[in-house]
């Protein structure tokens, strides 16, 4: 029985962070786990920072993860991993997609954007274990250009301590996502899984 497993998904609007949380939560539902999902909608389509808290297990009551309490962070964009550091601790395993989405002031040289090394360094200082994945490239190479979120899910499932089973996650992919994109998503999932498979 799962007591408490806290998954935080951090993304930029349009990357599919909310969809990823739906896939994970539905998989947990199929597995019969207690679930709390905390997210705020509204900015999801508009390029803002988007966070989804997915809490699984009997001891999950509130829909927001206690600070320092994330077991896993799935960051669909590198700087978005840094943004949610409040929720990270020495037990957190972090999967970071390496492809940045630059805000316009950064493109114009009016604001700074951290290097991947700066980000991973800062997270390592917290004690997190970091797994870097070029999910955007995996999505392109598996001909699933909009599925970087599912590639990150595949990478998460390659971690040996994933709470969800492969079968329920695949069933959730079938139930949650439009049927016409299922093949693409399964390819992206497999690509992500292999990227972190030992």
């Amino acid at each position: 029985m799962v007591k408490e497993h806290n998954i935080l998904i951090s993304s930029v609007g349009g990357q599919g962070g909310i969809t990823l949380s739906r896939v994970i939560a539905n998989a947990a539902m199929i597995q019969g786990l207690n679930i709390r999902v905390g997210e705020t909608l509204g900015m999801a389509q508009r390029g803002g920072a988007v966070q989804s808290h997915v809490r699984l297990g009997e001891d999950a009551h509130g829909s927001i993860i206690p600070s320092g309490g994330a077991d896993v962070l799935l960051a669909l964009e590198p700087s978005e991993a840094a943004r949610v550091s409040k929720y990270l601790g020495s037990q957190t395993r972090v999967i970071i997609n390496t492809a940045p989405t630059y805000p316009i002031p950064v493109m114009l040289g009016q604001a700074a954007y951290p290097s991947l090394d700066e980000i991973t360094g800062a997270l390592e200082a917290i004690g997190c274990e970091i797994f870097v994945v070029d999910a955007s490239r995996i999505a392109r190479e598996t001909e699933a250009p909009r599925s970087l979120n599912i590639a990150v899910l595949g990478a998460y499932m390659a971690l040996s301590e994933a709470v969800l089973t492969e079968d329920t996650v695949k069933e959730s992919l079938r139930k949650t996502l439009p049927a016409r994109y299922l093949e693409q998503n399964l390819r992206a999932y497999e690509g992500g899984r292999q990227a972190l498979a030992i």
Partner: protein
């Protein structure tokens, strides 16, 4: 959504409210979109036909509630939905209907936004329970959201009074498991009997009687709410107690299970009436009591009043002694700290970890909200700014009032157009006031189509009536955009996506008495700029309707043009386009602008402003 009794579903709070309406056999559901309440009507509109329910969007919350009152008087059950700001709009009617009787059950669902995830004010609608004297339930997860709606209809019919179900962003947009109940078939009743002593407020004698009865109706609910929505868990000898409501209850449960703290708890699920017997029992035993509730100290003050009525000394911790804040949303950490303060425990603080977390988060760049690629409002604001400039004004010499919705994003760089934001429709009234105050330069109101229908029509009449020289710019993207594309009278279809005739804003403005009106395409910068220049120089009220479908809707309907292209030979890398338009489809590679072919909607604005004609696009 139509599953039979006993199935287990993972539902968003708002979806659970929709399921509650289906279980309660609601005949009509009506609302105005407003984050975080919108998904109730959206969900119901998808199942309306199967569920045999009539579902519609109203033009504003007052109209929605008036329709709800009519449904009730007509003998049927009605759910009315809105966000907290919408409750203000509907309040005139709600306070009045509260005094009379009902026929069919009438439930108002209102969602507040502590933490300001959707912007606007952190208004605490619970205070409206005290103002309107209406019963109000306060929910903390999806199961409670569904159950509260079903019960609220029972209460409403038993006591002939509207009942409010109040939620907050974290509950309304959070997801948790729901066990479904039976779907009731509720027969319609005969409509109201004519009785003006109950259904009008016309006489002070009647009104006093109605007022007295309203107080009695709500008070009569105490035994029901104490069984249905409030839970007291207290053992003999417990000296510490916690009272919690809404989403905070869940954080309290997290804190108690993590720390194994031994305290009495009272879960408050009804704001009005409060579970006064359970509160009295709790106050009669504990010495220290913590009140955990987001926003205003609503329950805390009532507890203090009740303590004052006893001869016991009970220390009440909450907002007034600074244990918890009134601003922002609560989370686990705030509640944990408050609980430990109550019990004399010490919160284990790892300052070094906190410093490292803060250092890491400081690396993240700010992400402001730009207009979407292909958004017609981008063209509208560029045209307005160009017109102001070409007439010889500086941008800070022409006041442009903003309004609610996507159009307000014109306040951000690089547009810097809007000067203020008040409430739905206020942009127009404020410009009239600016003129009456003696502002000599032209003033411009910018307002979206849905906002115009909501509360922009009366001030447009006012501008015409007073012959006040204001420019009303309606940025008509034919949809209610910010809340996720709900139809409005400009859309040409209704909540069920059935085609209906479009209501043209220029015809309303003309009927309102505004003589100078122009309809333009905001993707045509020259045409839009000229229209603004004419209007800005006009000595009476004028209006421009800038009409072009929302890019996200157009994309879904495959109506957007082919993506634009940059000619790398001609592009000098001046980045005038990026600076002027701030379009998310633009990328900079090796000093030159490139257009993301997946996200560009081909609006052609960049092609129109490029000083070197290096961009091709806009052929739609």
């Amino acid at each position: 959504m139509l599953d039979e009794e006993g199935s287990h579903k993972l539902l968003m709070g708002n979806e659970a409210v929709a399921r509650g309406a289906i279980e309660a056999g609601v005949h009509v559901a009506v609302g105005y979109p407003g984050t975080p309440s919108t998904e109730v009507i959206e969900t119901l509109s998808r199942y309306a036909e199967q569920a045999g329910m009539h579902v519609e969007w109203a033009v504003n919350e007052k109209v929605a509630f008036d329709i709800g009152a009519g449904v009730s008087y007509g003998g049927a059950r009605c759910l009315v939905t809105m966000k907290s700001a919408g409750l203000n709009v509907a309040s005139d009617s709600i306070v009045s209907v509260a005094y009379g009787d009902l026929v069919g059950g009438l439930v108002i669902y209102v969602a507040d936004d502590p933490g300001l995830h959707a912007g606007m004010e952190e208004e605490d609608s619970r205070v409206f329970a005290a103002l309107s004297l209406l019963p109000m339930l306060d929910v903390s997860d999806s199961q409670e959201s569904k159950d509260a709606v079903v019960k609220a209809f029972e209460y409403s019919e038993q006591h002939s009074v509207p009942v409010i179900v109040r939620s907050t962003s974290r509950v309304a947009h959070g997801k948790s498991p729901v066990e479904t109940g039976p779907i009731q078939k509720v027969p319609r009743k005969p409509h109201l009997a004519r009785d003006i002593s109950v259904f009008t407020r016309a006489s002070p004698v009647w009104c006093k009687q109605q007022h007295t009865r309203l107080i009695e109706k709500t008070k009569a609910l105490v035994p029901s709410v104490e069984t249905d929505f409030n839970r007291l868990k207290m053992k003999k000898g417990q000296r510490h107690g916690v009272v919690a409501s809404g989403v905070s209850w869940n954080y309290l449960m997290d804190a108690l299970s993590r720390h194994g703290v031994d305290v009495a708890t009272l879960k408050i699920g009804s704001v009005n009436p409060l579970p006064v017997n359970q509160l009295r029992e709790l106050i009669g035993q504990v010495d220290r009591l913590l009140a955990v509730e987001e926003l205003e100290p609503y329950i805390e003050l009532r507890i203090k009043a009740m303590v004052a009525d006893t001869d016991r000394k009970v220390k009440v911790l909450g907002k007034q002694d600074g244990t918890l804040p009134s601003v922002g949303e609560y989370d686990y950490d705030l509640v944990e700290e408050a609980v430990l303060k109550l019990t004399g425990g010490e919160k284990r603080c790892d300052d070094e970890l906190a410093a490292r977390q803060a250092e890491a988060s400081s690396l993240a760049p700010r992400r402001s909200l730009p207009f979407c690629p292909g958004c017609p409002h981008r063209g509208s604001y560029i045209a307005l700014n160009q017109a102001i400039k070409e007439l010889g004004y500086k941008q800070d010499e022409v006041i442009v009032t903003g309004d609610i919705g996507c159009t307000i994003l014109g306040m951000h760089p690089p547009f810097n157009s809007c000067w203020n934001e008040v409430s739905m429709g206020a942009s127009i009234g404020v410009t009239i006031g600016l003129k009456q105050a003696g502002v000599e330069n032209p003033v411009v109101a910018t307002i979206g189509d849905s906002t115009f229908f909501h509360a922009g029509m009366p001030p447009a009449v006012n501008a015409a009536w007073g012959d006040t020289p204001v420019v009303i710019a309606v940025l008509d993207n034919e949809i209610t955009g910010m809340t996720g594309h709900q139809p409005n009278p400009a859309s040409g279809y209704n909540a069920l996506r059935k085609p209906v005739p479009r209501i043209k804003i220029e015809e309303i403005l003309g009927a309102a008495g505004i003589k100078k009106i122009k309809v333009v395409d905001p993707f045509d910068l020259e045409e839009s700029k000229e229209a603004f220049k004419e209007a800005l120089q006009h000595d009476g009220p004028s209006a421009i309707v800038l009409r072009r479908m929302c890019a996200l809707v157009a994309r879904r309907q495959r109506l957007t043009g082919p993506p634009s292209h940059v000619d790398g030979e001609k592009c000098t890398g001046c980045l005038h386009c990026v600076r002027t338009l701030s379009c998310p489809a633009m990328e900079i590679r090796e000093g030159k602008m490139e257009i993301n072919q997946n996200t560009c909607e081909g609006c052609g604005l960049c092609a129109q402003i490029c000083p070197f004609q290096a961009i091709e696009g806009g052929d739609q």
